[in-house]
Structures are given as C-alpha cells and as structure tokens.
C-alpha cells in the first residue's frame, strides 16, 4: 500500500463527488465510496508514489507508506501545507522516531473541494 486513506480522518470532503485527492492523481487511481463517503486507493499496484493526493487532502487523511520491499514500515513523511499557500513543511520521522522538518517555498493553487464533471458521472450499462 503506497498511500493509504485513513478512514477515521477522511470526511469525504463533505459529500464531494470528485474530491481533491481523486482529481489530483495522474493515474486516476483513487475512487470514492459514496455510500461510506470515503475515498480509497483502488489500484495500489499502479501508484507512482508522486504524492499530489497526500499534499492536497485538506484533512491530512492520506498517509504515505513505502512498499515493504523498499524498507521497514514505521518511517513517516507528512507534508503540512501552510495557510498562506506559499510554503510546505515536510515532517520526516525515521524508524527510530527521530524527526526532521523541511520548510520549502512553493506556490500552491487554491483547490476547490469538488469539481463538476463534463457529462456527469453516471454509471452506464455497458452490456448493450
């Protein structure tokens, strides 16, 4: 599981049909379970570990994990977006709990909680 949506923290962006995490994934790998009102990574094996989903979640509900084949579990990398949108502070915690932070300039674009999809999102019957 490269990135993981914590269902405790995810609030579904208040009923959004296309929440930010889902929109910002370049592989279109995240979907939303509308019944549970939670997002989840549907195709973990296709994840690029590129992190737009993690950075964009307003609830910081998405955790970044390395595949186990790359190293031990337990280390953490958490981006905190500044309210001013011009900085990110990355919190890095190694497996022994030592932490380091990095504050980096950026120019974040404000992101809406939802976005209308051209033509709607209805599921079609493809059996015809």
């Amino acid at each position: 599981m490269p990135v993981w949506v914590d269902p405790e923290k995810c609030n579904g962006c208040h009923g959004a049909s296309q929440p930010p995490c889902l929109r910002m994934c370049p592989g279109d790998l995240i979907v939303k379970d509308h019944t549970a009102n939670k997002a989840y990574l549907k195709y973990p094996e296709d994840c690029w570990d590129c992190l737009p989903c993690v950075k964009v979640c307003p609830e910081e509900a998405i955790e970044f994990h390395l595949s186990y084949q790359f190293g031990s579990k337990g280390a953490k990398l958490i981006p905190h977006i500044h309210k001013t949108h011009d900085q990110i502070t990355w919190e890095l915690i190694d497996t022994q709990g030592n932490s380091e932070t990095f504050t980096i300039r950026t120019k974040l674009m404000p992101v809406e909680l939802d976005e209308k999809v051209e033509g709607g999102t209805q599921t079609l019957d493809f059996s015809i």
Binding site: P2, R23, D46, R105
Partner: protein, 571 residues
C-alpha cells in the same frame, strides 16, 4: 454510447508540460481561435510534472548561447542530433522560463537576483507546484479543458489529420473532436520493458508510468514518419526508488564510485570526459562495472556537510519525495554512506533522447495538420521541461498561422462509427469472448518479450540480429489478440488502449533497433554484433513509416546536417 461532437480550431492532445504551454501561446497569439485540450488525467497534476520538479534542466546560463548549447547536446548525444531543432528550442528557453516565473514559479536566485545554476545548463527551482501553475495559466488563457478524457486515435481526411476521438473515464461519453490543427503532446512511453521493481512497486518507475506512448502509437497508425526510436533512454537512477540522480551528481557534485571505491568514470572514461562523459556513457560505465564484477555502484555522497545533506533532501521533496522517506525507512544518512545507483528499464522519451515524430523546424509532422511537441517529438534531445515548453510555443505559433489557409474539416460517419467501435470494443467484449485477455496479461507478455529479446536490463541492454528477429516475429502475433482484450470498467478500458498503444510502439522500436547496424549510444542502443560506432555508414537518422493500408512498416534513413561547425564529439 453518448456522443459529444466538438468543433475547434486547435486541438491539443495531452495537457502536460508542452500541452499547457502550447495552449497559452495559441490563445495569446490568436485570441480569436478556439483551443481545446483533451487530457486523460486532470491537468492540475498530470504527466511527468505530477510530483513536481526541482530544476529547469535546459537553460542558457550566463555566457552560454544557442550555439554552445547545440554543441553540448550534439556531443552528449554522440554526434547525431537535429541541430536545427535543438537550436530553435534553445532560443526560446528564456521566453518560457520568464513566463512561468511570472505565473508564480519560485526560482532560486543569488543576492543579485541572478538565477542559481545547478550545473552548466540547469537552474534551481522550488517546483513542487509547477504543474498546477501551468494548468492555471492554460485555463486562464481561455483554453477549453476536458479532463479524464482518454484519446484513442486521430481522425483523418485523406492525408490530413482533422482531430481525434476519445472517451470519458467518468461516464463513457464518446468524444469526436474535429479540429483544423492538432498538436500532439502526450509525452513518451514507459512500461514497454519489464519494470525495475516487482509486485506492488511495478509502477515505481522513473518515467511517468501513465505516459504509455499513446501519441507515438496514434501517429504510427495514421502513417506519420517517426525517427530514432532505437535511441532508447536507459537512465542511471537511485537503487529501488528510481529517483533522478542529477540532484545528487550535479546538486552536490558526487562522483560515481564502484564497490572498491574507485572513481571509475575518471579512470576508465577519462578520454570521454570522466564524470562529464556523454549521458549514455554515464549509464554504460556503471553498467560495465556491475557486469564485470565491480559492483554495486554508488554516487559518493560521503563527507557532505549537514547543510548539504539537508539541501539534498529538500531538493528531492520538491520532485521525488519517496527518496527521502526511503532514507528514513532504511536509516540511511547520505553524508555517511554513498547512495547506491542502478540502471532503469529502457524508456522511449524524445525529451531526453530523440525518439519521436519526424518534424520540420516548426514542429509540423509529416501528416498535414498535425504538430508535435515535448517528449513525443523527435530529433531534439535534452529538452527537459523548458525544451518541452519551447516546442509547445513553436508548434502553437505554426498551427495558429497555418489555420488561415486550411479548408474546413469534414469527417465521414463511417470513420466515426469505426472509431467508436474500436474505442469501446473491449468493454462490449466483456462476457462475450471465450478466452479473454486482460490488459495486465498482455502487458506482462510484452514486457517479458522486449526484456529478453530486445535489449532489456537482464542482457545488459545488449542485443543482436537473431534476438531482434525473434522479438519481431513474436510481436507480430500480438495484434491478432487485440480482439480478445476485455475491460470491466472505464479505467480498465483505458488500460486496454494503453497496452495496444505500447504494442504498436514496440513494433516500430524493434524495426529501428534492427536497422541501425552500429553501436552509437552504448547501453541505449548496444548492438553486440556491431559493437563500434560507424560514422561512415550510420551518421544519419533511422526513420520509419507504417503504411496504414498494408500495416507494413517501411524503414528509411534521412541525412544528418551539421549547422554548427566544430568537432561533433566535443562539447
């Protein structure tokens, strides 16, 4: 299927680095024209730039000129490039960089306000948000953007390209976009060869795994002339995470060392420039160390100061954050241990190497009405983000100017019906095909075939005539199985098209690899049966064109033209 017909002036396929810049340029120069972008993801975070960037890798720092740039790129690409293309793109670096800076990209500067170089042709940026910055500019300029719309083919009218067809990943709408001019900007191709990492990390590739060669494949099917597919890109990357190494090699000037601590580039490749040898040799050198039993190979970061170490981590956070988590998970301190590197699976990327459409100086392809920009366009290596922007600008200017003399577009109903059938076939086949093939099944078969017979990592990227003949014969059998591909949903339908595209790209690739009977770019293109470079017979471009009527690929050569005088092997 619901159909949506769009009529536009300029269609841009792929809203990435080149595509967004092309859209802005087209709208600024020709505000009266309609500009439409079709993007299979969401332009805010699609393609190579999704994770961010920490440098602009092609820029004329103080004292450099388009001529000095061409000389460098020519020697870095072992003496063979389209000098005209490399020159014209470099003339626009400044224009593009200034624009993006104005849109808000933080570029690192010294006390006097000069950009901070990172190596001879690079400048440092805080580019974590580079893609959303470009996307906003494209939208604000007035381009009509359709997100989550995957393009499956070009529309043709005689020998002219008149738009494209696509389907929506959200609702299955079939898009028919009729366009007077079409700019293709879909990036390069990953996923042709077996990836470096297995299982749940198979998409932990360097190149964007969602760029699957769609633009090459559409052009091939329509009969466009392609160039230099044999110049694959095999990158030197960090072990496991496959992160770019320029950040370490250029950023903190770490040399390559083998297991014995020997700086082998300095000793064995001194005649080629040591650690500054042409890029293919910087892959080939470490590869030979490993092959000959002197691996693993490292970038020697030992002795970095704590500030440099933090700077290195910050740079990765702007572009490739998983590198930093990897160090934390494995308790690696780059200032105390060297960073192990490895070579990647081969990619087809016209922005690092020069595989792609054969274009004229204005980035017109050989098909009327079709222009190419960025990693999908050929002949001009060393593009990186800024070269992709420059090509987007050049293509948009040409497309906008050409439109005035272009007749109106007509598309036959038969063509639209046939394309709709092709687009959705795998969905409709679900439950109806006796022996269904999943896109992942075909992917595994393709990757194994190229890996073993067309110079994959397991043969140290080496290949010979006999191996390539096997690859050619076996690849020829794939298209017959396209009818058996099935998809359960729209996401899987996209994957079906991705694998069909990659098969088309692979067939062209193998023809190119067979044709060039010399070794010009060791490791990118190592013909073990023709191990030497041969300027007498092969200082020319290998091009190909599929005849859409017969499906046969014809291979031809085009002459190299030296524009900038000087020794082609000296930077």
């Amino acid at each position: 299927m619901e159909r949506k017909i769009i009529e536009t002036d300029i269609l841009i396929i792929g809203g990435g680095t080149a595509g967004c810049m092309a859209a802005v340029e087209a709208k600024e120069r020709y505000p009266q024209l309609n500009v439409t972008i079709l993007e299979k993801a969401h332009i805010d975070r699609s393609g190579c730039l999704a994770g961010g960037m920490n440098a602009i890798n092609a820029y004329l720092n103080k004292g450099e000129t388009p001529e000095s740039f061409v000389r460098y790129v020519r020697s870095d690409s072992c003496g063979l490039i389209r000098e005209d293309l490399v020159k014209t793109m470099s003339e626009l670096f400044e224009y593009c960089v200034k624009k993006v800076e104005k849109w808000g990209l933080p570029i690192l500067c010294d006390d006097q306000g000069n950009y901070l170089p990172r190596g001879r042709w690079n400048i440092k940026i805080n580019g974590e948000s580079l893609k959303p910055i470009l996307a906003k500019a494209a939208r604000s300029a007035g381009a009509q953007v359709y997100n989550w719309v995957a393009v499956t083919n070009l529309l043709t009218e005689g020998d002219r390209i008149v738009g494209a067809v696509a389907f929506s990943l959200r609702n299955g709408t079939f898009y028919v976009v009729k366009a007077k001019a079409t700019i293709i900007a879909t990036g390069g191709a990953a996923g042709l060869y077996r990836p470096n990492n297995p299982g749940d990390a198979s998409h932990k590739t360097w190149y964007c795994p969602y760029n699957t060669g769609a633009g090459y494949a559409m052009g091939i099917r329509a009969g466009a002339e392609m160039t230099s597919f044999e110049m694959r890109y095999v990158a030197l990357r960090t072990k496991d995470t496959i992160a770019p190494t320029g950040t370490i090699a250029l950023g903190v000037k770490a040399p390559q060392v083998n297991a014995k601590g020997e700086q082998f580039m300095k000793t064995r490749y001194a005649h080629l420039g040591g650690d500054g040898a042409p890029t293919p040799y910087r892959t080939y050198g470490p590869l030979m160390e490993i092959k000959e039993g002197r691996g693993p190979v490292y970038l020697d970061t030992r002795g970095l100061t704590p500030e440099q170490s933090r700077e290195l981590k910050s740079a990765y956070l702007d572009m490739y954050p998983s590198m930093v988590l990897y160090w934390a998970a494995n308790n690696i301190d780059p200032s105390k241990e060297p960073i192990e590197v490895q070579t990647t699976e081969p990619y087809i990327v016209g922005g690092h190497c020069q595989a792609g459409y054969w274009v004229d100086g204005d980035r017109r392809t050989t098909l009327k009405g079709l222009y190419a920009a960025g990693d999908v366009s050929g002949g001009a290596p060393y593009k990186f983000v800024s070269g992709c922007w420059a090509e987007g600008v050049i293509a948009a200017r040409a497309a906008g100017a050409d439109i005035a003399s272009m007749p109106p577009v007509t598309v036959s109903d038969e063509q639209i019906a046939a394309e709709e059938d092709r687009a959705f076939k795998a969905l409709r086949s679900q439950g109806k095909v006796r022996y269904p093939v999943l896109p992942t099944d075909m992917e595994a078969r393709l990757q194994k075939l190229l890996e073993q017979y067309a110079g994959g990592a397991s043969t140290y990227y080496e290949m010979n005539e006999e191996m390539l003949q096997i690859a050619r014969q076996r690849l020829a059998k794939f298209p017959a199985d396209f009818d058996q591909l099935v998809a359960n949903d729209l996401h899987q339908l996209m994957k079906v098209h991705e694998i069909m595209d990659r098969v088309d790209v692979a067939q062209t690739l193998v023809e190119h690899l067979l044709h060039r009977r010399e070794t010009r770019w060791p490791s990118y293109q190592t013909r073990i049966d023709y191990p030497e470079r041969d300027d007498v017979n092969w200082l020319k471009f290998v091009n190909s064109r599929l005849d859409p009527k017969t499906g046969k690929i014809e291979v031809l050569t085009r002459p190299y033209e030296q524009i900038i005088p000087g020794d082609r092997y000296k930077p």
